[in-house]
């Protein structure tokens, strides 16, 4: 079975560690790369795809230093070679204007960070299950 490669863009180390722990609980094999900000994410996404496999799904926080999540999302969706990479917002914000802005900027999903760890594990399971069915890796 093919591993799904996730790229997590998250500046809060505690949250990143929680998400990583949740990923380890999922039965399907996954790979999780973690960066702290948008510029580092772009550095991973931009280089020639042949050299190293790109992430299959990007998990993106909104509140990031310098380039915020929406800006990174728009940059990904404006890039001819990156726009097919699914981006799922993973954020604490439940504000409807953030949800609207995310979808208007081209997000493929919007997930509020759940309140509990077990809920997070379930959410990661669902996400992985979903993307393993729909994601057609173009590379």
């Amino acid at each position: 079975m093919m591993r799904i490669r996730y790229l997590l863009v998250e500046d809060n180390q505690d949250h990143a560690d929680l998400i990583r722990a949740a990923f380890e609980k999922v039965p399907e094999p996954t790979l999780l790369a973690h960066v702290h900000d948008g510029e580092a994410a772009m550095a991973i996404l931009r280089p020639p795809a042949i050299a190293h496999p790109r992430p299959d799904v990007v998990l993106l926080d909104i509140n990031l230093p310098r380039m915020n999540g929406f800006q990174l999302l728009r940059a990904i969706k404006a890039d001819q070679s990156l726009r097919r990479t699914p981006v799922v917002m993973l954020t604490t914000s439940r504000a409807s204007r953030d949800v609207r802005e995310a979808y208007e900027s081209g997000a493929n999903g919007y997930v509020c960070k759940p309140n509990g760890y077990s809920e997070l594990c379930r959410m990661v399971g669902t996400l992985t299950d979903y993307w393993s069915r729909v994601n057609v890796n173009p590379y």
Partner: protein, 567 residues
Amino acid sequence: MVIRPIRLIFGLLIIFFSGTIAVPGQVGRAPPSPAAPALRMLRLVYTDYPPFTFQAPDGQPTGFSMEIAQQVAKHRGIALSYRRVDSIEAAIAAITSGAADLHPALAQTPDRAQALAFTAPIAQSFTTLHVAVTDSARFRNRNLAGATIGFVSKSATEPQVRAIPGAVVVEFPNNAALVAALAARQIDLALCGEDVFAYTLNQLGLPNRYTQIGDPLRRLDLSIALAKGQSPLVAELNVAIHDVLIQETYSNIYKKWFGPPPPFWTAQRIVLASAVFLVSVIIVSGFLIFRQRESARQLVLAQTRDNERLALEQAEQLAKSNAELAQKNAELETLVRVVSHDLRSPMVTVRGFAEMLDEALTSGNLAVATDASRRILRSTARLGEITDDLIDISRIERSELDITEVDLAGLLESVRHMLESQLAQAGARLILAGDVSSFRADARKTMRVVLNLVSNAIKYGCPEPGMTIEVSAAQFHLTDGRSITRICVADHGPGIDAAMHRDIFGVFVRAGPGPHSGSGLGLAIVEKIAQRHGGRAWVESSPGRGAAFYVEFLDTGLADTLGDHAA
């Protein structure tokens, strides 16, 4: 005007090193001479805008900003050549085309910022409506309809004066003509900088029988202007400006140009005034008798008018409070949105790791349990910090200012004591610079400002041991007796990208990622306190060159007179 010996020596040096004769307006960059170290030469272009820059009768360039610019250049070992042009447009064109390097005193406006780079402000001018004291009652409610307002054409306040409803606007070629017209009662009001107005009255030998109406329409920051793309030079000049501002030099030059005028009441004038007074008494008495009959009729008319005006004023007042209320609501909405987001973040951590802790305890994995409980403790501490700071922010807005004399050295000693462990951990040193030892402000709030700024400087500005944080204060005096205290906290750290300079004062914005703790409200608190003192807060920094945070306090209880700061 006397030719300053320093300038003479510079001139001689230039002639000696470059082998050419320095002719104002034609001097290029001194060609690098292999024998001697290159003496830097910058070409200064200026316009006649007394008292900031102008040509003295002896042909020498002079003025307040000119002298400051000369001090700044001297500080960096830069020689200046001078060229005078007729208009601001010509000066800007000279700089953008490369025919000149700098203008010593241009007001920063958004248009100009597109073509020019500006240094830190070296002078500030509050443009205000001036009126004869005898006329001031007419405009007390700021109803300027039908008033004749004069201003200097093409000055930066033109859009504001044109926007005053119902006013008749008259243009004047310069400030002297404007002030003379006001003195001759050709206009009701004159719009110009406070300092400029006082200086021009003084120059024209006119007594100051004028007062101001309302808040300043605009605050102009006068800076040295250079061509776009001169960032290293701008940064270098900013360092020199900073040094000149905190030295005695700045105060001395300021006093020279804007200090109090010589006493007006000489013996001769007293005799003359008494004679005029006697004659006026006779005329006025005659007039009053005539007037008395007229006044009974006028009284009825005036009362009707007063009632109408009162109703209008009340309607205006209501509209104003409504607008204020709407703004407060909008502010509150943003705060609630941001707060709920930032409070939820540590909550997610606490909930997640609490569950993990539970799981780890059941399975007996003590290492995971210890790690989880540590993270929970850290997150709850952060939640506490955020709540405390939020309470502080709302307190700053509501509480009265308790203005006392603040001793800067003592304050810094307390800050050093409170941040002792952080300073030791970062291996950073805290230094008191500048020569202002005390100023008037709310002591507790000032302490909070310095504490927050120094704590930030330790966190973000001291990445390696042995670095220093400098705290200094400077004072500027306004002509109306008020003064501004500017506190600066500077570090030599990695600096802050220009795009972030405004954002970092917002709530929950941090300059960088990583291990830094804090509520994200520190600078928002600093700015709120500055605004409560009628001042402002800002940062000057570029990546790799450290960061200098400035906070200004206005020294009076007149916290509400400054109004618009977005000059």
